[in-house]
């Protein structure tokens, strides 16, 4: 029997009204604008775009404002929005080798062609709270140097020239590119699907898994071969136009992890790789992604699958924070009927327990 319980409408309506009031906060404080969020909380916007799996700075800023800064709620809002728009198609794969680099560092080679470009980074800051920001300051304009036209080849390309690192897997002719927004996940999953899953996966989850590999749970001896951040051009092959149409540029962060070597009787040993790519400036995310990508290649590389980070079903089934929060948070929704049946069962078990325990004492009394 299903019994509908009504009466929550008024309370829900008023709760949402209260939420809007609390979201606004003290009305003597100026309301935050989307431009302020997008410009001054840019890394939060990048994270929401990445895990929301939708590149649109303004929408991500709106989601952050609406979610009161709760980034997982904001990611949820962005995911829900994307479901309302039609998909025109897929872009040409972006060429990160042609990136207009704002930051590019390598921990494996000091003197890389194109140089070590620190860009806007928290690295080397002292992590002391800055009292100057309390009331706001006008920062000095950035220093300028001599921009060079020299290309910035990927560190993996340099290693690849001497065969010291495995080449990237090339596309099989007429192989479809997996898309987990279109087909449900199945296992074993190929690397294209795994990377899509990790690219939209929760940063905290991937960070913890990546860290676990460093601590010995699926160790793979990583070096940050290269991390680069900057703008790449996006092109879309529109049939009606007849050529690949330039759509504009997006910001991306890429991490090339260089890992312990493999080899065999027939193949000379060479370094292996893990790869990370994400929207915006998302360095921690792409580094974690690259560590986990490498760990998930255990099966392909003939390594024992012993640690959580190497288990693709475990990783891919739990990386999505919208799915995870949906299932965890649904526990707070009414489960009155479920609970009543549990309660009924428990009472019955307790009664049986009491009867079983009462029996001997009755017997004793009789003796």
């Amino acid at each position: 029997m299903y019994v509908a319980v009504k009466g929550g409408e008024r309370a829900i309506e008023n709760a949402h009204r209260l939420l809007a009031h609390e979201r606004r906060g003290d009305r003597d404080v100026p309301e935050i604008s989307l431009a302020q969020v997008a410009e001054q909380l840019g890394l939060a916007v990048d994270r929401v775009m990445g895990e929301g799996s939708l590149y649109d700075r303004e929408l991500a800023a709106l989601a952050i404002k609406q979610a009161r800064g709760d980034l997982i709620e904001a990611i949820f809002l962005v995911r829900a929005f994307r479901a309302t728009l039609p998909r025109f198609g897929v872009t040409e794969p972006v060429d990160t080798g042609q990136m207009r680099v704002q930051r590019r560092v390598s921990s494996t080679f000091k003197d890389i062609p194109g140089g070590q470009v620190l860009g806007p980074t928290f690295d080397y800051t002292h992590r002391l709270l800055d009292p100057q920001l309390v009331h706001g300051i006008e920062p000095a304009p950035p220093a300028v140097g001599e921009a060079s036209d020299a290309s910035t080849p990927r560190v993996t390309d340099i290693l690849g020239r001497d065969g010291l690192i495995e080449p990237s897997p090339q596309a099989q002719a007429d192989a479809d590119v997996g898309d987990l927004t279109r087909e449900p996940l199945g296992f074993p999953a190929e690397r294209d699907l795994r990377l899509q899953n990790l690219a939209r996966g929760d940063e905290g989850f991937l960070l913890a898994l990546g860290y676990s590999t460093q601590r010995g749970y699926g160790r793979n001896h990583p070096f940050a071969g290269e991390i680069r951040f900057g703008e790449v051009e996006v092109e879309f092959m529109a049939e009606e136009v007849g050529f690949a149409v330039p759509l504009g540029s997006i910001e991306l962060t890429e991490c090339q992890m260089v890992n312990q070597f493999k080899g065999s009787a027939t193949e000379a040993p060479c370094f292996t790789r893990g790869y990370g790519l994400a929207f915006g400036q998302s360095e921690r995310k792409t580094m974690s992604m690259a560590l986990v990508d490498r760990a998930l290649r255990a099966r392909e590389l003939g390594e024992d699958v012993l640690a959580p980070a190497q288990d693709e079903e475990f990783v891919m089934s739990h990386s999505d924070n919208v799915q995870a929060t949906g299932f965890v948070e649904h526990l707070k929704l009414p489960h009155y009927v479920d609970f009543q049946s549990e309660l009924g069962l428990l009472r019955k078990l307790r009664k049986e327990f009491e009867e079983a325990n009462a029996a001997p004492s009755l017997q004793e009394a009789a003796e």
Partner: protein
């Protein structure tokens, strides 16, 4: 102009216009005497799936989606132009489609190139140059310290 040259010019123009704010494109078009034209397709917002490559240079994978606005414009003389641009600015998509149609018309192609695309390209390149110079200032110049007496 040969078909191939027109295609190159259209693509080069799109790559500039996609990076310019809609108000700037409109301001550059405004003084021009525009031929009669109509919306072949009303501007429409949607998504494209952005692809990356495994390892940066390997097989493609789906990275995540991006918002895109698109439109199509037809001149009275028959040329059809297309506008596709990241974001949800449908007026910008319409303006790009209009420029794309004009570029294909003998009567307007050179004028759009000179009065709209060229100045916007200069501005785009200047802003990229500025960003590149700011990044260049953060490039590490290694030097070796010699300690003690050699």
């Amino acid at each position: 102009m040969k078909a191939e040259a027109i295609k190159d010019r259209r693509k080069a123009a799109m790559s500039v216009l996609a990076h310019a704010p809609a108000v700037d494109i409109a301001a550059r078009l405004q003084p021009m005497a525009l031929p009669a034209h109509e919306e072949l397709r009303a501007p429409e917002n949607g998504l494209v799936m952005v692809r990356g490559r495994i390892g940066g240079d390997g097989a493609p994978f789906n990275l995540g989606e991006a918002t895109v606005s698109r439109a199509a414009v037809r001149l009275a003389s028959g040329e059809v132009g297309f506008g596709y641009v990241l974001g949800r600015d449908s007026e910008k998509a319409r303006l790009i489609a209009l420029c794309d149609a004009l570029i294909q018309a003998d009567s307007h192609g050179d004028a759009v190139e000179m009065q709209v695309v060229f100045p916007l390209r200069q501005r785009m390149l200047a802003s990229r140059e500025q960003k590149a110079r700011e990044a260049a200032a953060t490039k590490v110049e290694f030097y070796t310290m010699v300690r003690g007496e050699g």
